[in-house]
Symmetry: C2
Subunit: 331 residues, 2 copies
C-alpha cells in the first residue's frame, strides 16, 4: 500500500520494505540472535547487509555480513564500527531518486543491495540485485520497442487488441510522414514522366539513407541509455557519426553511380544518383545523431519516435535531392 | 591466463577465481578466523557465500553468510549443514555452460553469486551479480546493434575506421537487396510510364510494410532473447503477429485507399493501393515473426541480418503487388 505513493520511475517504487536492521548501541551477539530468530520464522530472505540505525530510525551505517562475521561479538555495533567508520558508510538512494540513477550506481559500485531512505535519512527499505536484473532488462526492452514503434506495456497485455492499437498509432504517424515524402516525389511528376528510370532507382537512395541513419540512431540511443555519452560529448558524437556516414556515403555513391550509368546506359544518371547518395547519407549521420541528442535535451525518451522522424528526413532528403538533381542535370 | 581457454559465450570466461572456500570437516570458528585473516589482507571482496568442498576439492555445499552467521561456531561445517543439507545444495554452473543460461538462472532464482565447477564437480570460481549486470547490458546492446546492422565490438573500438567498415558490410548487403527491389520496379517500366501516380505512391506501400514488419520483428527478437517464447510457442507467436498485421493492414488500406482515390481522382487506384497494402502488411507480420524464429532454429543469432531480410521482403512484396495489381486492374 505504501508503495503506491511513488511514480514508476522513482526508487521508492522498487524497494522491498523488509530489511535487517539493528540499533547502533546493540551488542553484536544480540543482533545475531535476533537475526537467527527472524530466519527461523522465515521472515527475511536474501540478506547481505545489516543496516544500522540510530534512535530516530535514521540510517547510519551498512555492514556487509562478511564484515559482521569478523566483528567482536561481545562488543556493541558502535564499538566495532567506530574503529573504521568510513568503511561502513553506505551508498544510499533516497525514495524519490530516479531509478535509472540507482541502476547506474549498482553497476558502478558493483553493489548487490542498496538502502533507500527518505529525505530525513530515515530507512524505508532496500533494493536488491534481483530487482536490478529486471530493471536493466525492462529498460533495454523499452528502448528496442520504442525504436520500432512498439509499446512495452501494451505488448505484455493479454489483450491483443491493445497491442494492435499501440502499434497502429505509430503506423499512423508513419503513414502521414510517408504521404509527406510522396508529396515531395509528386513535385517532380513531369521529370518522372520523361525519365522513368528515376522511379526505378529512387527507392535505393532512400533505403541506403534510412539504413545508415538507423545505424547512427541506434548507436546514439543505446549509448545515451548506458550513460556513455556525457553532455559535453554531444558535439564529438555528432562529428563521429557524420564522418562515418560521409565516408560510407562516398564509397557507396561511387559504386551505385557506376551501376546506374551502366544499367541505364546514361553516364549523367550515375552522377545524379551518386551526388544524391552522398547528400542523403551525410544528412542521415547528422540527423541520426542529432535527433536522439535533441530529444534527450528536451527531457524526452530519445528512443520514442526517433525512427519515424529520422526516416522521414532520409526519405524527403533522398527523394528531393535525387529527383531535384535529375531535373537540374538531366532535363 | 587460465581464463583464456574459454569461448566468449562460456560461463568459464566470466568467472572470478577468487573464492571463499572451506573444508567440510573444518570447525566454523576456524573458518571464520581464516576468513578474517583474508579480509585483513584485502584478498577477498564482495563475498556472500562460503563454498564448502570435500577432500577432492569438489563443491559440496554453498552456505550464505546469513546462514553461516547463525551456525553453531563450536561445531564443524558438516555438523551444522547436515541438519538441513537440502538447504545448502548450491545452484552451480559448469565452466562450459552457455553464459546465456547462467544469466537466465541468476534472474530465475534471484541469485547474487553462483559457483562454477568443472565436469568432475571441482570448484573453479564464481560469477557474481556485478558480472551479470554487465552481461545483461551487453546482450541487450548486441541485440539492438544487430537489428540496426551495427557491430558492438567495432563500435567500442577507438579506431573509427573499424566501426565504418563493420557498418559498410551491412550497407553493402542492403545495397544489393535494394537493387533487387529496384529490378522488381523495373519489370513494370511501361506501367510506370503510363501512370506516373504509381511512382509517387509506391514508397508508401513499401514503407508501411517495412514498419509493420519491424514491429513484429523487434517484439519476436526481444522475446526470444528474454526466453519468453518457448519452442512450442512458435506457431502461436506467428499467428499473433499475422493477426495484428492483418488487422492494421485492413485499417490502413481503407484509409490510404480513400486518400489515393481522392488525391489522383481515380477510384480504382485506391482499390489497387488498398489491396497491395493488405497483402504487404500481412506478409510483413508473417515474415517479421518467421525470420527470427527460423534463424533461432538454425542456431543463428535471431537479430543478425533479420532487418535486412525483412525489409527486402516488404520492399519486393510491396512493389510487386502494387505495380502488378496496377498493371492488371488499371491498364
Amino acid at each position: 500500500l505504501q508503495l503506491k505513493q511513488y511514480e514508476e520511475d522513482e526508487a521508492g517504487a522498487y524497494m522491498q520494505i523488509e530489511v535487517y536492521t539493528a540499533g547502533l548501541e546493540q551488542n553484536v551477539h544480540d543482533v545475531i540472535n535476533d537475526f537467527a530468530e527472524l530466519r527461523r520464522n522465515d521472515e527475511l530472505e536474501n540478506v547481505n547487509y545489516l543496516f544500522v540505525t540510530d534512535k530516530e530510525k535514521k540510517l547510519r551505517y551498512g555492514v556487509g555480513l562478511d564484515n559482521l562475521l569478523v566483528f567482536d561479538f561481545n562488543k556493541t555495533l558502535k564499538d566495532n564500527i567506530e574503529r573504521t567508520p568510513e568503511k561502513f558508510k553506505p551508498i544510499v538512494a533516497t525514495d524519490h531518486d530516479a531509478i535509472d540513477d540507482v541502476v547506474q550506481k549498482f553497476q558502478e559500485y558493483d553493489l548487490n543491495s542498496m538502502p533507500v531512505v527518505d529525505k530525513e535519512g530515515v530507512l524505508l527499505g532496500r533494493i536488491t540485485s534481483d530487482d536490478i536484473y529486471d530493471i536493466i532488462n525492462e529498460q533495454a526492452t523499452d528502448q528496442m520497442y520504442h525504436l520500432a514503434g512498439v509499446n512495452d506495456d501494451a505488448e505484455e497485455d493479454e489483450d491483443i487488441f491493445k497491442a494492435g492499437k499501440a502499434r497502429a498509432i505509430w503506423l499512423s504517424v508513419n503513414l502521414l510522414t510517408a504521404i509527406a515524402a510522396s508529396l515531395v516525389i509528386g513535385m517532380f511528376e513531369e521529370t518522372l514522366q520523361s525519365i522513368v528510370a528515376l522511379a526505378i532507382l529512387m527507392p535505393i537512395v532512400a533505403s541506403m539513407g534510412g539504413n545508415a541513419g538507423t545505424q547512427s540512431l541506434t548507436v546514439v540511443v543505446r549509448q545515451l541509455a548506458l550513460g556513455d555519452i556525457a553532455k559535453h560529448d554531444a558535439f564529438r558524437t555528432i562529428k563521429k557519426e557524420v564522418i562515418l556516414s560521409l565516408a560510407n556515403g562516398l564509397f557507396f555513391a561511387i559504386i551505385m553511380g557506376i551501376i546506374a550509368s551502366v544499367w541505364f546506359d546514361k553516364g549523367m544518371l550515375g552522377v545524379v544518383i551518386a551526388l544524391s547518395m552522398v547528400i542523403n547519407l551525410l544528412s542521415a549521420g547528422f540527423f541520426g545523431s542529432m535527433v536522439p541528442l535533441l530529444l534527450k535535451k528536451l527531457d524526452v525518451d530519445p528512443a520514442i519516435g526517433s525512427t519515424v522522424i529520422l526516416t522521414t528526413v532520409t526519405d524527403v532528403v533522398g527523394f528531393f535531392s535525387f529527383l531535384g538533381l535529375a531535373t537540374l542535370i538531366l532535363l
